[in-house]
């Protein structure tokens, strides 16, 4: 075993272990950052595969994304710190079966498939190649990604901001009827006397 092999096993086991811990902890904050730990280890494995930029970019991206995820998890989950004991899993039997089947399937693929063995030359200018690709053949993809992300930004603002340029975001909104063809019930509207609609109490 070379040093790279040892490092691979260390990171791989750490990634799996912290991924497993995500489901064993009661605290949403711990769960978010255990998931981050798992991603960090995956990023390290990418670096071992000499995908230097992808690996380090994964560390960067996943960190800020998990921070944002933690903010929202704590906002909307009941008992976010797990101070009260609670059951963290739903439908455990189905989940167990699905987990075993998926693991077996992926494991089979990993063992059976003859993966190509094409080591990258450590001196290869992979980052430069990536940049050239973004400015060459993949330019259209790159610019479409820009437009897609613009749409994401606009949608995120529309969906999340409570107040816009024209006043309250919920002004004039009418709740749909509970059943098709049913009557509109004013007490379901978000605006007005604060009744109904927004008394959701989280949950997980």
């Amino acid at each position: 075993m070379t040093g790279v092999d040892v490092a691979f096993w260390v990171f791989a086991l750490a990634a799996v272990w912290s991924g497993y811990r995500v489901f064993r902890t009661d605290s949403m904050v711990r769960a978010s950052f255990l998931l981050l730990a798992s991603f960090l280890n995956v990023g390290a494995i990418l670096v071992l595969l000499l995908a230097e930029y992808l690996g380090t970019a994964l560390l960067f991206m996943m960190t800020v994304e998990m921070v944002v995820m933690a903010l929202f998890m704590v906002m909307f989950m009941m008992n976010p710190a797990g101070l009260n004991p609670m059951e963290m899993v739903h439908q455990p039997r189905l989940a167990a079966v699905a987990g075993v089947v998926t693991t077996a399937g992926l494991g089979l693929v990993a063992v059976v498939v003859d993966f190509p063995d094409a080591p990258v030359d450590p001196a290869a200018e992979t980052i430069r190649a990536l940049g050239t690709e973004l400015l060459g053949g993949s330019m259209l993809v790159f610019e479409s990604a820009g437009v897609t992300l613009l749409a994401t930004m606009v949608c995120a603002v529309i969906l999340s901001a409570a107040r816009g340029r024209y006043g309250d975001g919920t002004a004039g909104s009418v709740a749909p009827p509970l059943e098709p063809g049913g009557d509109h019930r004013p007490e379901d509207d978000l605006v007005g006397d604060g009744g109904g609609g927004h008394h959701h109490h989280g949950g997980h």
Partner: protein, 118 residues
């Protein structure tokens, strides 16, 4: 290259472990746990009614979503910067377009007041 990463990882781990060891040893050495009145969070003499951990109402959540989208874009720019000098004007124009699209998003968010505390 990998040896450089290994050295960096070693340095990080060493600093982390040394700091953690200081704190843990000091906590061990202090012996007795904090007493119940000592454990009450600092509020200037009063007691909180509830635990502090709660569904915390973050006031800047539209900004965080915007940030995620923006940050994802930025990851394209690192390799772009490396080949910029080589590609010259083409790179400048392409990135100009890209940034212009992004700026539209930021200006829109600003007009809608998404950076205000909700």
């Amino acid at each position: 290259m990998l040896s450089a990463f290994l050295a960096g990882l070693t340095v990080t781990a060493a600093a982390t472990l040394a700091t953690a060891a200081c704190v843990v040893l000091a906590r061990r050495a202090a012996g007795a746990m904090s007493t119940a009145p000592q454990r009450v969070p600092v509020l200037g003499g009063s007691q909180p009614e509830t635990h502090a951990w709660s569904r915390f109402h973050v006031r800047y959540y539209p900004m965080t979503l915007l940030f995620i989208a923006f940050e994802m874009e930025m990851m394209f720019m690192y390799p772009w910067a490396v080949v910029y000098v080589e590609e010259g004007l083409k790179a400048l124009v392409e990135m100009g377009m890209f940034l212009a699209i992004l700026s539209v998003g930021v200006v829109y968010a600003w007009r809608e007041g998404a950076f205000r505390w909700q």
